[in-house]
């Protein structure tokens, strides 16, 4: 993506509030926000330098939740890293599973049966809906509406998590996908239950929008705040709803057609102001698009095996080489980069976490804003510290 391709005229009025340089004598107030819950996302610290109410400098400090995921993965077999990927972005474990499975499948040249591909799409889209619903819930929570919208989101999320539990045995740490397919087959009863949940989703999104979209407080707090210019977003490597909220049409489901995404009709919602409200709206519209993908996938799902009979889940040695598998996770581009040296463990294992890279533009979005808006801007990035720190 080339930033110069963006129509500069369109960017009139996209600038963040002017940063008023403090006078030489004015003293800056340094505030350490966190590390204990600056919001509901995890353990993260922001070192702010304030001129009165305005942010002059912001330094994100993370690493409090570092647990050595990449190095551990280099010491264990390929299969043993699968449950660890659940713990990266613990809200959407199934998409993490998929990205890792995709990378290993690329490394060993493994095909996936069609039914398994459909199951993966269904689970990934359900994950996207529950992630976006809770992301919006957290965002509104950070605005000060403590509870109500978050509980609405969680009510619906719980229905989806019940589906996950019924299928995979766990609500959040699903550990479901395997190299060359999925672990257990979905039953007809599960598919019916999923159809029933999906049928209820549009009503939930309508209700959620009624509750929030035209709320004057939300509009006043979100519009024109935390603006991210598309050229900066591209240069910083921002992906996901953050990038699309800034009006850049880039969705890996459309770009890569990984899995079977070329078979489904769906649109990519784009924002045209790049502020928090656009990010909120892009997430709402993405939920609606996910519902249409789910409708198609649940209608078309074929029979057949869920696992390639030749596939090995353990004790295999990939040929020396490297592979990068990436998917459009709910938070952005999630990639796994693997190098094999022919041993049963990966020689190098690297995660490209969307949360960490989306967080790099935090300072630029926050400069010149009020302190109260910083929390809101941080919430609109939609990060999970499990993935940032790994």
């Amino acid at each position: 993506m080339n930033p110069s391709a963006i129509n500069q005229e369109k960017l009139e009025g996209w600038n963040r509030p002017p940063i008023v340089e403090p006078d030489g004598e004015a003293e800056l107030l340094e505030v350490a926000m966190g590390p204990h819950h600056p919001s509901t996302h995890g353990v993260f610290r922001m070192d702010l330098a304030l001129d009165g109410e305005r942010v002059v400098r912001l330094k994100p400090v993370f690493g409090y939740l570092h647990r050595n995921h990449e190095k551990i993965a280099e010491g264990v077999s390929y299969l043993a890293s699968m449950p660890y990927t659940d713990r990266l972005d613990y809200i959407c474990s199934l998409t993490n599973n998929w990205a890792y499975a995709l990378a290993v499948e690329k490394l060993v040249g493994q095909e996936v049966p069609e039914r398994a591909e459909y199951i993966r799409v269904i689970l990934a889209e359900l994950t996207r809906i529950q992630n976006h619903a809770s992301a919006i819930g957290f965002l509104i929570q950070e605005m000060g509406a403590s509870g109500t919208p978050l509980m609405y989101a969680f009510k619906e999320r719980e229905k989806i998590l019940d589906l996950f539990e019924e299928l995979t045995g766990s609500r959040m740490m699903c550990n479901y996908m395997r190299f060359g397919g999925c672990r257990v087959d979905v039953s007809a009863a599960w598919l019916d239950a999923a159809r029933k949940v999906v049928l209820g989703l549009p009503a939930f999104i309508d209700e959620f929008e009624n509750l929030l979209s035209s709320n004057e407080i939300l509009m006043a707090r979100c519009q024109g705040v935390g603006i991210l210019r598309p050229d900066l977003a591209i240069n910083a490597g921002v992906t996901g709803p953050m990038l699309r909220g800034s009006g850049v049409n880039y969705d890996i489901r459309k770009v890569d057609h990984y899995g079977i995404y070329d078979r489904f009709k769906f649109r990519v919602p784009l924002g045209d102001h790049g502020d928090i409200y656009d990010r909120y709206m892009v997430r709402i519209l993405e939920m609606r698009e996910s519902v249409t993908i789910l409708d198609q996938a649940l209608k078309e799902i074929p029979g057949g095996p869920i696992m390639d009979p030749k596939a090995k889940i353990r004790g295999f040695r990939p040929k020396p080489g490297e592979a990068y598998g990436r998917i459009e996770a709910p938070k952005g581009e999630l990639g796994f980069y693997l190098i094999s040296d022919g041993s049963p463990n990966p020689y190098r294992y690297r995660v490209r976490p969307p949360s960490l890279i989306n967080l790099t533009v935090l300072e630029d979005m926050c400069l010149g804003s009020n302190v109260a808006d910083v929390v809101l801007i941080f919430g609109s990035v939609d990060i999970v510290l499990g993935e940032v720190d790994r």
């Binding site: 109500t148 019924e166 550990n175 209700e207 004057e216 006043a220």
Partner: protein, 216 residues
Amino acid sequence: MYLFLEDSLLGEGILKGMAETARNFAGSFVSAERLTTVQYPEEREAPAENARVFPFLVFDTADAEAGLRCVACQICEKECPPKCIYIEKSKDKKPDYVGKQQFYPTRFDIDISVCMSCQICVEVCPFEAIKMDTQFELATTDRFGGLLLDRKELSRSNEYYHQIHPTEAAEVDARLAEEKAKADAKAKATADAAAAKAAMPPPAAKAAATEEGAGD
């Protein structure tokens, strides 16, 4: 879909949202569907059939010691991602469910403070010996010894397994019965062949007998 604040009638959106919450509040009195929580621990929801918490070891016969399916092959110990399983293999052997002489674990410990409930031990076990429990109320006052479960504490009967995962357990039993039938037929065939070959030169018969062990 960008709604501008300047275009909206002030207060309209807030009232719309409040109408939504009011409808849910009033609705919770008439429709049970809108009540999404239960009053734990007085009320409990049954766990999903596939639910998994921590592993346990399955035994078949009435005696937990003798009927343990585990043959101490140590695959789960090797594959366990957080390495929370510790197995010591026996020196002697005892017959397993098909009657084949196998090792057994003299020690089988799982540290459930380390276990992350990933189910990989269940997946890699070729003997259907380790399965996932649904019991989650495991709080203890001793965080070291109380969370290190040994072979005795981990053993559960096959009936218990049927009780918590009925579908899965039935499948496992069918698979084991099939294996046993196959093993029995094979043992019978080898025994017959061995009997027939008894009159023949001894080396061949000896080889056949050692290959199958005491399969009878």
